[in-house]
Symmetry: C2
Subunit: 324 residues, 2 copies
Amino acid sequence: MYTFKELRDIIQRELDRADYVEYPEQLFEPVRYLIADSGKRLRPVIALMSYNLFHEDITPALKSAIGIEIFHNYTLLHDDVMDDAPIRRGLPTVHQKWNKNVAILSGDAAAIVAYQHIEHCEDKYLRKVITFFNQMAMDICKGQQLDMEFETRNDVTVDEYIRMIYWKTSVLLAGSMRHGALIAGASEEIYNALYDLGGSLGLAFQLQDDYLDVYGDEATFGKQIGGDITINKKTFMLIKALELADDEQRAELQYWISLKEFDKAEKIQAVTALYNAIGIKEIALTEIANYLVQCKEILRNIPIEEERKSGFYEMISLLEGRNT
Amino acid sequence: MYTFKELRDIIQRELDRADYVEYPEQLFEPVRYLIADSGKRLRPVIALMSYNLFHEDITPALKSAIGIEIFHNYTLLHDDVMDDAPIRRGLPTVHQKWNKNVAILSGDAAAIVAYQHIEHCEDKYLRKVITFFNQMAMDICKGQQLDMEFETRNDVTVDEYIRMIYWKTSVLLAGSMRHGALIAGASEEIYNALYDLGGSLGLAFQLQDDYLDVYGDEATFGKQIGGDITINKKTFMLIKALELADDEQRAELQYWISLKEFDKAEKIQAVTALYNAIGIKEIALTEIANYLVQCKEILRNIPIEEERKSGFYEMISLLEGRNT
């Protein structure tokens, strides 16, 4: 069985030697630019991990795992256009480096390249592969749609938020695991369980991102602390705080949200103090822990020898360790 | 066997009763807006015509024919964003009515809806359906890419132009015919011949559009004459004229192209006079006629009783009649 790191290296090698250079070159250049960067390759890796539960040789699953990574990058490409994001993983986004038209069209092309890769499976799995992939792709669109809608809404509930991040983030993790298991010949029971596992893992991961933006350590988190607070991003922290705040706390939160000009550090400190007073830190930690407990429970119940699942347990442990 | 008009009505009924209303509604509203309009439904109709060559009951092909129409509309949606087009078939384009983000994301969603529809076929055809559809989708992207590149290039050759319109316009017509025949159980020989037929028909149609912009009758053409000339659009007419012009004629053409301010009618008249002098009218007509002869030849050679092909012959005749 392969380790996470080994699988990531295999994915990277495969991505490096892939020949997306086709005519007209300008259509594929941005796709290569995006794929060449230093992403974690989390999605193809967990797809291969799932496949590896059943087969030692992962070669037959490699091409469709690459398809998942390309699909992920296509969604980032279009999301960055819609969010007008200038930077992605430390590099200028495609629409910044080229222009929006290039980003739209090479995104469209990347989606097709993803479909072309994902179809690499035995014929007997093709119908399910395509059906699942389409459903997953649609859920991701729905998530992005809700994310954009939430920007202009002030009454987003925690349930709505969870649904949004489930669609936008979790479903692709869930789908990657299901895909790997499906094309490995897993039973419906098992690939559905892996889908659930990926879903809960994705929620834990996203909520942790929300949490770490407030309570993380800048050095290990890798992002500036308080970024979400600065831009009033409707994260779990803010939505839950607005829900649980008393009148005075809510008024103070709203005050900081409404300010057009402010000292960043001061705002971050004030909002964090409010989160502390409302008890959001503990609530978020409990929520994350619950999802991770769920993950372990799902994993334990999957009828495969425990030692084969070690990679998945390791991933859950990594997430658990991320909180501190 | 169904007539063109009957098939169009069937498609329209199916489109009208389709339930794209899903949550979140804002994601699907633009798709419905686009689909609800009065397009010719040419692509799904020829897909059904091709299916109808082999089976009287076209019901099994209906859903994937709808998928082709949705895919076509998805490409228009994104193209309109890239071209910044304000109007499509007499109505505001989606990015005009909503905004660009809505157009990008609901376009992405429409593409997935298209994929979901197109996969409605017997399992034994699914691999080919998906492979062909992906290849077709990629060719359309390539066509759009070249179209955008040509805008800023002054050395586009006729061959390059033909390749661009082949990808951008013909391939979807070709693919629609092939798709209908494929899922009807046609032999590879026949569905490939229909693909070639659609390809040549598409080229004839696009070249005719280029021709009619100069020599058409405004009333029957339905567009203002000289629109392409006004904006220096690199059509077959202009590219061929620049290729065949003598030095004096080329200088005069370049003069009109370079003018930033001009009297529209005067420019149209002058450029048309140049086209006449260079002999572009006859060259274009010959080119179109050649493609239509090709179409009839391909059609005649398809090993199916001639009377079953009447709908296709009718389509070719319609195109022949469009020149005059």
